[in-house]
Protein backbone atom coordinates (compact mmCIF):
# COMPACT_ATOMS: atom_id res chain seq x y z
CA UNK A 1 0.00 0.00 0.00
CA UNK A 2 1.27 3.42 -0.97
CA UNK A 3 1.28 6.30 1.50
CA UNK A 4 -1.10 8.32 -0.70
CA UNK A 5 -3.80 5.72 -0.06
CA UNK A 6 -2.97 5.55 3.64
CA UNK A 7 -3.54 9.32 3.75
CA UNK A 8 -7.09 8.76 2.46
CA UNK A 9 -7.89 5.95 4.87
CA UNK A 10 -9.70 6.28 8.15
CA UNK A 11 -11.09 3.72 10.55
CA UNK A 12 -14.52 2.45 9.49
CA UNK A 13 -15.61 0.64 12.63
CA UNK A 14 -19.23 1.51 13.34
CA UNK A 15 -19.03 3.36 16.64
CA UNK A 16 -15.62 4.87 16.02
CA UNK A 17 -16.61 8.39 14.98
CA UNK A 18 -14.17 10.74 16.72
CA UNK A 19 -12.71 12.60 13.73
CA UNK A 20 -9.47 13.45 15.55
CA UNK A 21 -8.72 9.88 16.49
CA UNK A 22 -9.98 7.73 13.62
CA UNK A 23 -7.58 9.40 11.19
CA UNK A 24 -4.75 8.93 10.40
CA UNK A 25 -4.25 5.28 11.29
CA UNK A 26 -1.03 4.78 13.22
CA UNK A 27 1.57 2.41 11.73
CA UNK A 28 2.98 -0.31 13.97
CA UNK A 29 6.07 -2.45 13.26
CA UNK A 30 5.99 -1.77 9.54
CA UNK A 31 8.42 -2.72 6.83
CA UNK A 32 8.74 -0.29 3.95
CA UNK A 33 9.71 -0.88 0.37
CA UNK A 34 10.63 1.59 -2.35
CA UNK A 35 9.25 0.84 -5.81
CA UNK A 36 9.97 3.27 -8.59
CA UNK A 37 7.04 4.82 -10.45
CA UNK A 38 6.60 7.33 -13.23
CA UNK A 39 6.27 10.88 -12.00
CA UNK A 40 3.41 13.02 -13.22
CA UNK A 41 3.48 16.59 -11.90
CA UNK A 42 -0.06 17.43 -12.99
CA UNK A 43 -1.44 14.53 -11.00
CA UNK A 44 0.57 15.50 -7.91
CA UNK A 45 -0.63 19.10 -8.05
CA UNK A 46 -4.23 17.97 -8.55
CA UNK A 47 -4.01 15.57 -5.60
CA UNK A 48 -2.42 18.11 -3.21
CA UNK A 49 -5.68 19.68 -1.98
CA UNK A 50 -7.02 16.20 -1.21
CA UNK A 51 -4.02 15.26 0.90
CA UNK A 52 -4.25 16.02 4.60
CA UNK A 53 -0.80 17.53 5.08
CA UNK A 54 -0.80 17.44 8.87
CA UNK A 55 -1.66 13.75 8.79
CA UNK A 56 0.99 13.03 6.17
CA UNK A 57 3.60 14.84 8.28
CA UNK A 58 2.60 12.81 11.34
CA UNK A 59 2.87 9.55 9.38
CA UNK A 60 6.20 10.59 7.86
CA UNK A 61 7.59 11.32 11.32
CA UNK A 62 6.55 7.88 12.54
CA UNK A 63 8.34 6.29 9.62
CA UNK A 64 11.40 8.60 9.82
CA UNK A 65 10.80 10.14 6.41
CA UNK A 66 11.84 13.75 5.80
CA UNK A 67 9.11 16.11 4.57
CA UNK A 68 8.86 19.91 4.49
CA UNK A 69 6.59 21.30 7.25
CA UNK A 70 4.46 23.28 4.85
CA UNK A 71 3.30 23.05 1.27
CA UNK A 72 5.05 25.80 -0.75
CA UNK A 73 2.81 28.55 -2.07
CA UNK A 74 3.17 27.61 -5.70
CA UNK A 75 3.85 23.86 -5.63
CA UNK A 76 3.48 23.52 -9.40
CA UNK A 77 6.78 25.37 -9.98
CA UNK A 78 8.73 23.75 -7.16
CA UNK A 79 10.42 20.77 -8.81
CA UNK A 80 12.30 19.74 -5.70
CA UNK A 81 9.15 19.68 -3.58
CA UNK A 82 7.24 17.64 -6.17
CA UNK A 83 10.07 15.16 -6.42
CA UNK A 84 10.10 14.60 -2.63
CA UNK A 85 6.32 14.37 -2.60
CA UNK A 86 6.36 11.83 -5.40
CA UNK A 87 8.92 9.65 -3.59
CA UNK A 88 6.96 9.76 -0.34
CA UNK A 89 3.38 9.24 -1.46
CA UNK A 90 3.73 7.19 -4.64
CA UNK A 91 6.97 5.23 -4.31
CA UNK A 92 6.95 4.32 -0.63
CA UNK A 93 5.00 1.10 -0.11
CA UNK A 94 4.14 -0.50 3.20
CA UNK A 95 4.92 -4.20 2.92
CA UNK A 96 4.17 -5.73 6.30
CA UNK A 97 3.02 -4.66 9.75
CA UNK A 98 -0.25 -3.18 10.92
CA UNK A 99 -2.28 0.01 11.21
CA UNK A 100 -3.90 0.87 14.53
CA UNK A 101 -6.85 3.18 15.10
CA UNK A 102 -6.29 5.50 18.07
CA UNK A 103 -10.04 5.81 18.62
CA UNK A 104 -11.23 2.23 18.98
CA UNK A 105 -7.94 0.36 18.98
CA UNK A 106 -8.82 -1.82 15.98
CA UNK A 107 -5.68 -3.25 14.41
CA UNK A 108 -5.68 -3.62 10.63
CA UNK A 109 -3.00 -6.17 9.77
CA UNK A 110 -0.95 -5.72 6.60
CA UNK A 111 0.48 -8.84 4.99
CA UNK A 112 2.30 -8.88 1.67
CA UNK A 113 1.27 -5.26 1.11
CA UNK A 114 -2.46 -6.04 1.49
CA UNK A 115 -4.22 -4.55 4.55
CA UNK A 116 -6.97 -6.66 6.04
CA UNK A 117 -9.93 -4.29 6.43
CA UNK A 118 -12.50 -6.93 7.42
CA UNK A 119 -14.51 -6.08 10.50
CA UNK A 120 -15.97 -8.37 13.12
CA UNK A 121 -19.72 -8.75 13.49
CA UNK A 122 -20.01 -6.27 16.39
CA UNK A 123 -18.08 -3.61 14.50
CA UNK A 124 -20.40 -3.32 11.50
Amino acid sequence: MRLITHNMLKCHVKNCTDPDKQFPLRFKDVQLEQIEADRNDEFLVRMLPRIDWAALLKTAKELNIELPDKVPESPADDGEFLSTLHTVILETHVKDGSMVCDGCGHEYKITNGIPNMLLAEHEI
Binding site: T5, M8, K10, E42, F43, G113, P115, I124
Partner: protein, 284 residues
Protein backbone atom coordinates in the same frame (compact mmCIF):
# COMPACT_ATOMS: atom_id res chain seq x y z
CA UNK B 1 -26.80 -19.64 -16.82
CA UNK B 2 -25.06 -20.78 -13.70
CA UNK B 3 -24.79 -18.30 -10.90
CA UNK B 4 -21.69 -18.72 -8.74
CA UNK B 5 -23.20 -16.46 -6.08
CA UNK B 6 -25.76 -19.19 -5.40
CA UNK B 7 -23.06 -21.77 -4.77
CA UNK B 8 -20.94 -20.24 -2.02
CA UNK B 9 -19.95 -16.85 -0.57
CA UNK B 10 -17.30 -15.11 -2.71
CA UNK B 11 -14.37 -15.55 -0.32
CA UNK B 12 -14.95 -19.32 -0.36
CA UNK B 13 -16.04 -19.70 -3.98
CA UNK B 14 -12.93 -17.99 -5.26
CA UNK B 15 -10.56 -20.28 -3.39
CA UNK B 16 -7.11 -21.08 -4.67
CA UNK B 17 -8.13 -23.37 -7.54
CA UNK B 18 -11.08 -21.29 -8.72
CA UNK B 19 -8.97 -18.11 -8.56
CA UNK B 20 -6.30 -19.73 -10.73
CA UNK B 21 -8.90 -21.03 -13.18
CA UNK B 22 -10.57 -17.63 -13.37
CA UNK B 23 -7.34 -15.76 -14.02
CA UNK B 24 -5.85 -18.32 -16.40
CA UNK B 25 -8.90 -18.50 -18.65
CA UNK B 26 -8.19 -16.33 -21.67
CA UNK B 27 -11.88 -16.07 -22.59
CA UNK B 28 -12.83 -14.70 -19.17
CA UNK B 29 -9.84 -12.34 -19.31
CA UNK B 30 -10.91 -11.04 -22.73
CA UNK B 31 -14.51 -10.46 -21.63
CA UNK B 32 -13.35 -8.78 -18.41
CA UNK B 33 -10.98 -6.55 -20.37
CA UNK B 34 -13.75 -5.54 -22.75
CA UNK B 35 -16.12 -4.72 -19.91
CA UNK B 36 -13.44 -2.79 -18.02
CA UNK B 37 -12.69 -0.68 -21.10
CA UNK B 38 -16.39 0.05 -21.51
CA UNK B 39 -16.72 0.92 -17.80
CA UNK B 40 -13.78 3.33 -18.01
CA UNK B 41 -15.35 4.84 -21.12
CA UNK B 42 -18.61 5.34 -19.23
CA UNK B 43 -16.70 7.12 -16.43
CA UNK B 44 -16.35 9.96 -18.91
CA UNK B 45 -12.99 11.14 -17.56
CA UNK B 46 -11.41 14.09 -19.23
CA UNK B 47 -8.33 13.54 -21.36
CA UNK B 48 -5.66 15.14 -19.24
CA UNK B 49 -3.58 13.11 -16.95
CA UNK B 50 -4.00 10.07 -14.77
CA UNK B 51 -6.81 9.91 -12.24
CA UNK B 52 -7.19 8.43 -8.79
CA UNK B 53 -9.69 5.59 -9.19
CA UNK B 54 -11.27 2.88 -7.09
CA UNK B 55 -11.71 -0.67 -8.36
CA UNK B 56 -14.45 -2.37 -6.37
CA UNK B 57 -14.04 -6.13 -6.37
CA UNK B 58 -10.70 -5.99 -8.16
CA UNK B 59 -10.16 -9.74 -7.89
CA UNK B 60 -6.93 -10.93 -9.45
CA UNK B 61 -6.30 -7.56 -11.06
CA UNK B 62 -7.70 -8.28 -14.55
CA UNK B 63 -9.40 -4.88 -14.57
CA UNK B 64 -6.52 -3.26 -12.69
CA UNK B 65 -4.12 -4.14 -15.48
CA UNK B 66 -6.26 -2.09 -17.86
CA UNK B 67 -6.19 0.86 -15.45
CA UNK B 68 -2.40 0.47 -15.21
CA UNK B 69 -2.13 0.59 -18.99
CA UNK B 70 -4.02 3.88 -19.01
CA UNK B 71 -1.62 5.17 -16.36
CA UNK B 72 -4.23 5.70 -13.66
CA UNK B 73 -3.41 5.49 -9.97
CA UNK B 74 -5.88 3.14 -8.34
CA UNK B 75 -6.85 1.31 -5.19
CA UNK B 76 -8.71 -1.97 -5.33
CA UNK B 77 -10.62 -4.04 -2.84
CA UNK B 78 -11.80 -7.63 -2.83
CA UNK B 79 -13.04 -10.14 -0.31
CA UNK B 80 -11.29 -13.21 -1.74
CA UNK B 81 -7.72 -13.52 -0.38
CA UNK B 82 -6.69 -16.04 -3.06
CA UNK B 83 -7.63 -13.61 -5.83
CA UNK B 84 -5.68 -10.81 -4.12
CA UNK B 85 -2.63 -13.05 -3.77
CA UNK B 86 -2.63 -13.61 -7.53
CA UNK B 87 -2.97 -9.86 -8.08
CA UNK B 88 -0.03 -9.21 -5.74
CA UNK B 89 2.02 -11.87 -7.54
CA UNK B 90 1.33 -10.17 -10.86
CA UNK B 91 2.75 -6.91 -9.45
CA UNK B 92 -0.21 -4.74 -10.40
CA UNK B 93 0.50 -1.16 -9.47
CA UNK B 94 -2.68 -0.42 -7.50
CA UNK B 95 -3.05 -0.65 -3.74
CA UNK B 96 -4.96 -3.76 -2.73
CA UNK B 97 -7.28 -4.17 0.24
CA UNK B 98 -8.90 -7.26 1.71
CA UNK B 99 -12.31 -5.81 2.34
CA UNK B 100 -15.98 -6.73 2.43
CA UNK B 101 -17.70 -3.96 0.46
CA UNK B 102 -20.95 -4.72 2.29
CA UNK B 103 -19.30 -3.44 5.47
CA UNK B 104 -18.69 -0.07 3.86
CA UNK B 105 -15.33 1.57 3.33
CA UNK B 106 -13.35 4.12 5.27
CA UNK B 107 -12.06 6.57 2.69
CA UNK B 108 -12.11 10.28 3.43
CA UNK B 109 -14.70 12.41 1.60
CA UNK B 110 -13.82 13.35 -1.96
CA UNK B 111 -10.96 10.87 -2.35
CA UNK B 112 -11.61 9.35 -5.75
CA UNK B 113 -12.18 10.70 -9.27
CA UNK B 114 -14.27 7.68 -10.14
CA UNK B 115 -15.02 4.07 -9.33
CA UNK B 116 -15.44 1.01 -11.50
CA UNK B 117 -16.57 -2.47 -10.67
CA UNK B 118 -16.79 -5.49 -12.95
CA UNK B 119 -19.14 -8.42 -12.18
CA UNK B 120 -19.45 -7.77 -8.46
CA UNK B 121 -22.71 -6.12 -7.47
CA UNK B 122 -24.83 -9.27 -7.81
CA UNK B 123 -22.80 -10.86 -5.01
CA UNK B 124 -24.03 -8.18 -2.60
CA UNK B 125 -27.66 -9.19 -3.08
CA UNK B 126 -27.07 -12.56 -1.43
CA UNK B 127 -27.36 -13.30 2.26
CA UNK B 128 -24.56 -15.78 2.86
CA UNK B 129 -24.54 -15.51 6.61
CA UNK B 130 -27.28 -15.12 9.18
CA UNK B 131 -26.17 -11.58 10.05
CA UNK B 132 -26.00 -10.47 6.39
CA UNK B 133 -28.92 -8.34 5.32
CA UNK B 134 -28.58 -7.46 1.64
CA UNK B 135 -30.47 -4.17 1.94
CA UNK B 136 -28.42 -2.99 4.89
CA UNK B 137 -25.17 -4.06 3.22
CA UNK B 138 -26.07 -2.30 -0.05
CA UNK B 139 -26.91 0.83 1.90
CA UNK B 140 -23.62 0.73 3.82
CA UNK B 141 -21.78 0.25 0.57
CA UNK B 142 -23.47 2.98 -1.45
CA UNK B 143 -23.49 5.58 1.31
CA UNK B 144 -19.77 5.20 2.08
CA UNK B 145 -18.98 5.10 -1.65
CA UNK B 146 -20.95 8.30 -2.23
CA UNK B 147 -18.89 10.00 0.48
CA UNK B 148 -15.56 8.86 -0.90
CA UNK B 149 -16.18 10.19 -4.42
CA UNK B 150 -15.46 13.70 -5.69
CA UNK B 151 -18.57 15.77 -6.47
CA UNK B 152 -19.59 15.05 -10.03
CA UNK B 153 -17.58 11.84 -10.18
CA UNK B 154 -19.09 8.69 -11.59
CA UNK B 155 -19.25 5.11 -10.44
CA UNK B 156 -19.83 2.46 -13.10
CA UNK B 157 -20.81 -1.08 -12.16
CA UNK B 158 -21.02 -3.85 -14.70
CA UNK B 159 -23.14 -6.59 -13.14
CA UNK B 160 -25.35 -9.57 -13.88
CA UNK B 161 -28.75 -8.87 -12.35
CA UNK B 162 -30.79 -11.96 -11.63
CA UNK B 163 -34.16 -10.31 -12.21
CA UNK B 164 -35.88 -6.94 -12.40
CA UNK B 165 -36.63 -6.72 -8.72
CA UNK B 166 -32.92 -7.02 -7.97
CA UNK B 167 -32.21 -4.10 -10.29
CA UNK B 168 -34.97 -2.10 -8.61
CA UNK B 169 -33.59 -2.84 -5.16
CA UNK B 170 -30.02 -1.85 -6.10
CA UNK B 171 -31.05 1.33 -7.89
CA UNK B 172 -33.52 2.32 -5.19
CA UNK B 173 -30.90 2.08 -2.47
CA UNK B 174 -28.30 3.90 -4.59
CA UNK B 175 -30.72 6.78 -5.18
CA UNK B 176 -31.53 6.91 -1.46
CA UNK B 177 -27.82 7.34 -0.76
CA UNK B 178 -27.66 10.41 -2.99
CA UNK B 179 -26.63 9.02 -6.36
CA UNK B 180 -28.35 9.92 -9.61
CA UNK B 181 -28.04 8.10 -12.90
CA UNK B 182 -29.42 4.84 -14.14
CA UNK B 183 -28.95 1.63 -16.02
CA UNK B 184 -27.13 1.48 -19.37
CA UNK B 185 -27.83 -1.69 -21.35
CA UNK B 186 -25.44 -2.65 -24.13
CA UNK B 187 -26.70 -4.86 -26.98
CA UNK B 188 -30.20 -5.26 -25.50
CA UNK B 189 -31.30 -7.45 -28.41
CA UNK B 190 -28.61 -10.08 -28.07
CA UNK B 191 -29.04 -12.61 -25.31
CA UNK B 192 -25.35 -13.54 -25.33
CA UNK B 193 -23.77 -10.11 -25.63
CA UNK B 194 -26.22 -8.14 -23.46
CA UNK B 195 -24.43 -6.31 -20.66
CA UNK B 196 -25.78 -4.19 -17.81
CA UNK B 197 -23.91 -1.16 -16.55
CA UNK B 198 -25.19 0.75 -13.57
CA UNK B 199 -23.95 4.27 -14.18
CA UNK B 200 -24.15 6.43 -11.04
CA UNK B 201 -23.31 10.11 -10.63
CA UNK B 202 -22.22 11.50 -7.27
CA UNK B 203 -23.74 14.96 -7.55
CA UNK B 204 -23.11 17.52 -10.25
CA UNK B 205 -19.79 18.74 -11.61
CA UNK B 206 -20.99 22.34 -11.46
CA UNK B 207 -24.19 23.69 -9.90
CA UNK B 208 -27.14 23.48 -12.27
CA UNK B 209 -25.28 21.28 -14.71
CA UNK B 210 -27.15 18.05 -15.20
CA UNK B 211 -25.25 14.90 -16.08
CA UNK B 212 -26.66 12.98 -18.96
CA UNK B 213 -26.94 9.22 -18.89
CA UNK B 214 -24.86 7.73 -21.71
CA UNK B 215 -26.61 5.59 -24.28
CA UNK B 216 -26.04 1.89 -24.52
CA UNK B 217 -24.52 0.34 -27.61
CA UNK B 218 -27.14 -1.46 -29.61
CA UNK B 219 -25.79 -3.28 -32.58
CA UNK B 220 -23.14 -5.95 -32.68
CA UNK B 221 -21.47 -4.13 -35.61
CA UNK B 222 -20.42 -1.38 -33.22
CA UNK B 223 -18.11 -3.77 -31.44
CA UNK B 224 -14.77 -3.96 -33.14
CA UNK B 225 -12.32 -6.20 -31.37
CA UNK B 226 -14.71 -7.98 -29.06
CA UNK B 227 -14.99 -11.64 -28.24
CA UNK B 228 -16.46 -13.30 -31.29
CA UNK B 229 -19.19 -15.90 -31.22
CA UNK B 230 -19.98 -17.72 -34.42
CA UNK B 231 -22.80 -20.13 -35.00
CA UNK B 232 -21.21 -21.43 -38.22
CA UNK B 233 -21.40 -25.03 -37.05
CA UNK B 234 -25.14 -24.88 -36.39
CA UNK B 235 -25.82 -23.03 -39.62
CA UNK B 236 -23.79 -25.52 -41.66
CA UNK B 237 -25.75 -28.35 -40.10
CA UNK B 238 -28.99 -26.74 -41.20
CA UNK B 239 -27.73 -26.21 -44.72
CA UNK B 240 -26.66 -29.86 -44.86
CA UNK B 241 -23.01 -28.95 -45.21
CA UNK B 242 -20.35 -31.13 -43.64
CA UNK B 243 -18.93 -29.74 -40.46
CA UNK B 244 -15.36 -30.29 -39.54
CA UNK B 245 -16.11 -32.92 -36.94
CA UNK B 246 -17.76 -36.24 -37.94
CA UNK B 247 -20.96 -37.09 -36.08
CA UNK B 248 -20.30 -39.12 -32.97
CA UNK B 249 -20.77 -42.96 -32.90
CA UNK B 250 -20.78 -43.37 -36.69
CA UNK B 251 -18.28 -45.46 -38.63
CA UNK B 252 -16.49 -42.40 -39.95
CA UNK B 253 -16.14 -41.06 -36.39
CA UNK B 254 -14.66 -44.37 -35.18
CA UNK B 255 -12.22 -44.43 -38.09
CA UNK B 256 -11.27 -40.83 -37.39
CA UNK B 257 -10.65 -41.56 -33.71
CA UNK B 258 -8.56 -44.63 -34.51
CA UNK B 259 -6.51 -42.69 -37.01
CA UNK B 260 -5.90 -39.98 -34.42
CA UNK B 261 -4.78 -42.52 -31.81
CA UNK B 262 -2.36 -44.08 -34.30
CA UNK B 263 -0.92 -40.69 -35.13
CA UNK B 264 -0.40 -40.03 -31.44
CA UNK B 265 1.60 -43.23 -31.21
CA UNK B 266 -0.82 -45.27 -29.08
CA UNK B 267 -0.34 -49.01 -29.24
CA UNK B 268 -2.90 -51.77 -29.57
CA UNK B 269 -5.29 -49.97 -31.90
CA UNK B 270 -7.36 -52.62 -33.76
CA UNK B 271 -6.98 -52.80 -37.53
CA UNK B 272 -9.63 -51.19 -39.74
CA UNK B 273 -11.86 -53.57 -41.70
CA UNK B 274 -15.23 -53.60 -43.41
CA UNK B 275 -16.74 -54.54 -40.02
CA UNK B 276 -15.47 -51.42 -38.26
CA UNK B 277 -18.36 -49.46 -36.83
CA UNK B 278 -20.88 -51.49 -38.79
CA UNK B 279 -24.43 -51.61 -37.48
CA UNK B 280 -25.47 -54.89 -35.90
CA UNK B 281 -28.50 -56.82 -37.01
CA UNK B 282 -31.60 -56.16 -34.96
CA UNK B 283 -31.93 -58.93 -32.37
CA UNK B 284 -34.93 -60.14 -30.43
Amino acid sequence: MSRPEHIAPPELFYGETEAKKYTGNSRIAAIQAEMTLRAVELLNLEEDGPYYLLDIGCGSGLSGEILDEDGHIWAGMDIAPSMLDIAAEKDVEGDLFLQDIGQGMGFRPGTFDGAISVSVLQWLCNADKAENKPRYRLQQFFSTLFMSLQRGARAVFQFYPENDSQVDMIMGIAMKCGFTGGLVVDYPNSKKARKFYLCLFAGQTAPGQKQELPRGLDSIDQRNDSVAYTDARIQNQRRGKKTRKPVKDTASWILHKKELSRKRGKEGIPLDSKYTGRKRKPRF
